[in-house]
């Protein structure tokens, strides 16, 4: 009999894990609460640093995991722990018995309206990184006028590295995402001045620094070291952003046609619900707590429960995919040793 592995969350981590499990001859079941697979990446336009279309990646993952059992629009009603297995009851009435659960519940973007001083939901010219990707994909967003775009600003670290937003951790991918989006916007609006307001630029990944240099040299994007503290609106309906240029040591003010807030990654609230059902530990940053943060990132403290992707913290797409594979290997070796 083929061993069943339940994957909670049909984002890229879940899909990649399912496809690897299929290759190893297991029978993965994907439970996804949305009506589509691919999670947050499916809403994204292009991925750094190669500008790969997100759709390509998601399509490829869906194709390679199509033989798994997939439940869309399905949530978990409850999970019972038995002797050495779990009984999962789904919202569509189906129950599944399994010894192995892989949590790939991912993240959610910080709700930018919580940072009221940035005026998201108040001023018409303030959007988030998620809104911008949506616009790249669909071209539909009344807040972004296609014509006279003279100045655009990016605010890094919205809802991350911010104790007032109840998240003191770095969201890791926003710096490079801001640079990517700035380049994309510059391509759409070549005459616009683009400003990135950052606290620290954390460009740790492969090719990230090249991307930064390209943004400076080829696209003339202005990087200002200072966190935006106030956003107001003038009578022409433009937003005025106030920050300190900490390198110049002077307050700085700029009028913008569009302000993009780089909402950080925070843990999905549904993850907390699920963690409650299985008595999983939640870390101080709000994400799920791995067995340890060096050797066993993909293991939980509970037997048979594994993690992959952004449910344990902010991650890039390649990191998430790598974790999904690593988690599958962990599950595989546990299945083999159990027999």
């Amino acid at each position: 009999m083929k061993e069943i592995v339940v994957i909670i969350g049909g984002g890229i981590a879940g899909l990649e894990a399912a496809s690897q499990l299929l290759k190893l001859g297991y029978s993965p079941i994907i439970i996804e609460k949305e009506d589509h697979l691919g999670g947050k990446v499916a809403n994204w336009h292009k991925l750094f640093p190669d500008m790969t279309p997100a759709k390509d990646i998601v399509d490829e993952l869906i194709a390679s995991s199509k033989d798994s059992n997939i439940f869309l629009n399905t949530e978990i009603s409850f999970i019972n722990r038995l002797q050495d297995s779990y009984n999962i009851k789904l919202s569509n009435g189906i129950s599944i018995m399994t010894k192995y659960i892989l949590c790939t519940t991912g993240f959610r973007l910080f709700e930018a309206e919580k940072k009221e001083e940035y005026g998201y939901g108040i001023y018409n010219q303030v959007i988030t990184n998620g809104d911008l990707e949506h616009w790249f994909n669909t071209g539909k967003d009344e807040r972004i006028e296609n014509s006279s775009m003279q100045a655009i600003g990016f605010v890094h670290c919205v809802g991350s590295r911010d104790e007032k937003a109840r998240n003191s951790q770095c969201s890791k991918v926003c710096c490079i995402t801001a640079i990517k989006q700035a380049i994309e916007l510059k391509e759409k609006f070549p005459d616009a001045q683009i400003y990135c307001f950052y606290m620290d630029l954390r460009l740790f990944g492969k090719k990230f620094e090249d991307f930064y240099i390209k943004a400076q040299k080829d696209y003339g994007i202005h990087f200002i070291r200072g966190r935006v503290s106030e956003v107001s609106e003038n009578i022409e309906g433009k937003v005025i952003v106030k920050a300190e240029d900490t390198l110049a040591g002077k307050p700085i003010k700029v009028t913008l046609d569009l302000l993009v807030l780089m909402s950080g990654m925070v843990c999905n609230p549904d993850t907390h619900k699920m963690a409650g059902m299985m008595a999983l530990q939640v870390d101080s940053d709000g994400f799920l707590k791995s067995h340890d943060n060096v050797f066993h990132i993909t293991s939980s403290t509970k037997k048979g429960i594994f993690y992959a992707g952004a449910c344990t913290g902010p991650k890039t797409v390649p990191e998430t995919l790598a974790e999904a594979r690593s988690a599958v290997l962990d599950i595989h070796s546990q299945i083999i040793s159990g027999q």
Partner: protein, 617 residues
């Protein structure tokens, strides 16, 4: 009545007299000291108030209601109220009736202070005095009332929750001695009178006790030790009184007329501050009231402990307690004697020595005045208004961080066709209240002067404020003759009443949070409720109005760090959302952002609510 002892004296009165003389002289010297410590102006005000029949009538009413009947405690909890008033009023009546008896039966002894207290020892009942059995009955009745109060007091020590108190004060050593002395006075009196009831007469209580006692003791001489014990208990109580919480009994008598005369706290320790500190009965009502008590470790930083530390001159703790406080004023609002915990703390903060002082003389107000004028002419926001009043909107520092309030407010002003200008669109000068709360009064007044200059020159008729912190200082410290100062809750209420804003009522339910500075600080409770009810169903929080709980974001606290405030905010939210409202409505930018951080329920300002429920006329 017939006297038994010609001298009208017995040795056992000596302890009582020692105590009496000590406590009386202590109190008289103390009262003179407090009065002398007042500033000349305040002292004059105080004496003049005593001649004012209206204030005097209030004094008499307060003496009875506060000192004897403890009306405020009755309102808090019936059992607690009964316990206090039974002891206080019962004791008072026993003293009064005692004097009446002396006056009626042995008028020549009235000048002997101890005579009314130990009356039953010195006299014997005769045939014709049995008509006075009415007084005997009253004496026994009030003794019973007191004894019931004492029984409740003992119960309260064990189970304070029965009396509506979650936490009580930890008594100091002298408090404990005083407490036991107080508890023993009346049982001992009952015992002493019980022994003599067959001679001196008595009623249902003492007479029946006498019968019981005679059953056990045949010897009349047993009565002397009980009278000694009664006198000793009185002596102990009076001797520890100045050093214990019972000092509040005499201190409150003086505090009431001073309070009614409106004497403010001007000095950290002297005058009215000293009087308030000694008037603190250590009842601990402020402990449960304090928003910081949501965290148990903070209960030692409540007003009752501040008073205790001031009495002990423990400067380190005084500083700690006064700097930590949120200055929400709730302890002042609930205090049964009227200790002003918030003002007392600001006074403690004001004596700090600073080596570096702020100085605003370099600030040129012209640039800020120009900002206003430019704004008015270029944006032409002074549109016509039926009253033709010019409204100057001062959003305040905090409002610039919650731009939604400012946006909603200007939108409302436009909808109502108000002739308005914004004073601090591009930055302004702080109102001075935060500086004042830090105890730096001179600096605060400099800021007040700068803003006054700008406002006076604007030619405005109404100064409109969105921030209750600003509102309080504008009301109290600014001299803006001819300019009406309004908080936006008041102004919106007025605009709705005048029909200039047409509010659509929604199906939703809203709870209104009273911001400290607006509610307790300025007494604005009704207008915001009128406004909220016009937009939907108004529900109340568990504790509301003058007992509303601070959001925890207050600028009042100097030392409370950000992470320590979370528990306070969550506690306040729990109180607010008790009726599961659809939204929390507040009227302070600081409360709004503080609640918004932790709330599951949406939080909005009253201006946002009305703006979203109003159409353009």
């Amino acid at each position: 009545m017939r006297e038994i002892y010609l001298s009208g004296y017995s040795n056992f009165i000596i302890p009582f007299m020692i105590g009496m003389i000590f406590v009386l002289s202590w109190c008289i010297i103390g009262a003179i000291r407090v009065i002398m410590e007042l500033s000349a102006e305040d002292r004059k005000k105080f004496f003049l108030s005593l001649l004012n029949p209206k204030i005097m009538a209030k004094n008499i009413k307060d003496w009875f209601c506060d000192c004897l009947f403890h009306v405020k405690l009755w309102k808090r909890n019936k059992l607690l109220g009964y316990m206090h008033s039974s002891i206080a009023f019962g004791w008072f009546m026993i003293i009064v009736i005692g004097h009446i008896e002396v006056f009626l039966y042995t008028p020549e002894r009235i000048h002997q202070v101890w005579y009314p207290i130990f009356f039953r020892y010195f006299v014997a009942v005769t045939e014709n005095t049995m008509k006075g059995s009415f007084f005997f009955f009253l004496m026994d009745f009030f003794l019973l009332v007191i004894l019931s109060g004492i029984i409740l007091a003992i119960t309260k020590r064990i189970r304070s929750r029965l009396f509506g108190m979650r936490r009580t004060t930890r008594p100091s050593l002298t408090d404990t001695i005083g407490l036991y002395a107080l508890w023993s006075i009346f049982p001992l009196r009952l015992l002493a009178e019980g022994f003599t009831a067959d001679i001196s007469g008595g009623s249902f209580l003492t007479k029946s006790l006498n019968d019981v006692l005679h059953f056990f003791f045949s010897d009349q001489m047993n009565m002397l030790p009980t009278w000694w014990a009664y006198s000793m208990a009185l002596c102990v109580f009076m001797c520890v009184l100045p050093f214990s919480r019972y000092m509040h009994i005499p201190a409150e008598i003086l505090l009431i007329p001073m309070r009614n005369a409106g004497i403010p706290i001007r000095h950290s320790r002297k005058g009215i501050s000293r009087l308030q500190v000694y008037s603190c009965p250590s009842c601990g009502v402020c402990i449960d009231a304090c928003p910081m008590s949501a965290v148990k470790a903070n209960t030692r930083d409540t007003t009752v402990y501040l008073n205790r530390q001031i009495k002990r001159y423990n400067e380190r703790r005084i500083e700690e307690i006064s700097d930590k406080c949120l200055l929400c004023g709730k302890c002042t609002a609930v205090c049964p004697v009227g200790v002003q915990g918030d003002r007392l703390r600001i006074a403690q903060r004001s004596i700090r020595k600073y080596n570096i002082s702020q100085d605003y003389s370099n600030i040129d107000t012209n640039s800020l005045k120009n900002q206003l004028n430019n704004f008015v002419t270029t944006e032409n926001d002074f549109v016509s208004d039926i009253h033709n009043q010019k409204v100057l909107y001062f959003a305040g520092c905090m409002t610039s961080l919650t731009p939604t309030i400012m946006k909603s407010m200007t939108s409302l002003l436009k909808k109502a066709g108000v002739n308005y200008g914004i004073m601090d669109k591009d930055g302004g000068i702080c109102c001075g209240r935060p500086m004042l709360m830090a105890g730096r009064i001179d600096q605060a007044m400099e800021l007040v002067a700068k803003n006054t200059e700008i406002i006076k020159e604007s030619g405005a008729d109404i100064l409109l404020l969105s921030c209750p912190i600003c509102y309080k200082i504008f009301k109290e410290k600014y001299a803006l003759e001819g300019i009406e100062i309004l908080h936006h809750t008041e102004y919106i209420d007025r605009l709705i009443k005048e029909g200039r804003l047409k509010v659509r009522k929604s199906e939703k339910s809203y709870v209104y949070h009273d911001p400290c500075e607006l509610g307790r600080g300025c007494g604005i409770y009704d207008q915001p409720r009128n406004v909220v009810s016009s937009a939907g169903e108004l529900v109340e929080a568990e504790k509301n109005g003058k007992e509303s709980i601070c959001c925890g974001g207050s600028l009042g606290s100097l030392t409370l760090s950000f992470d320590k405030r979370k528990a306070l905010t969550e506690n306040a939210l729990k109180n607010l959302t008790i009726a599961s409202p659809d939204e929390v409505i507040t009227a302070c930018p600081l409360c709004r952002s503080t609640f918004n951080r932790y709330s599951q329920t949406p939080v909005r300002d009253i201006a946002e609510l009305i703006d979203s429920n109003t159409e353009i006329n």
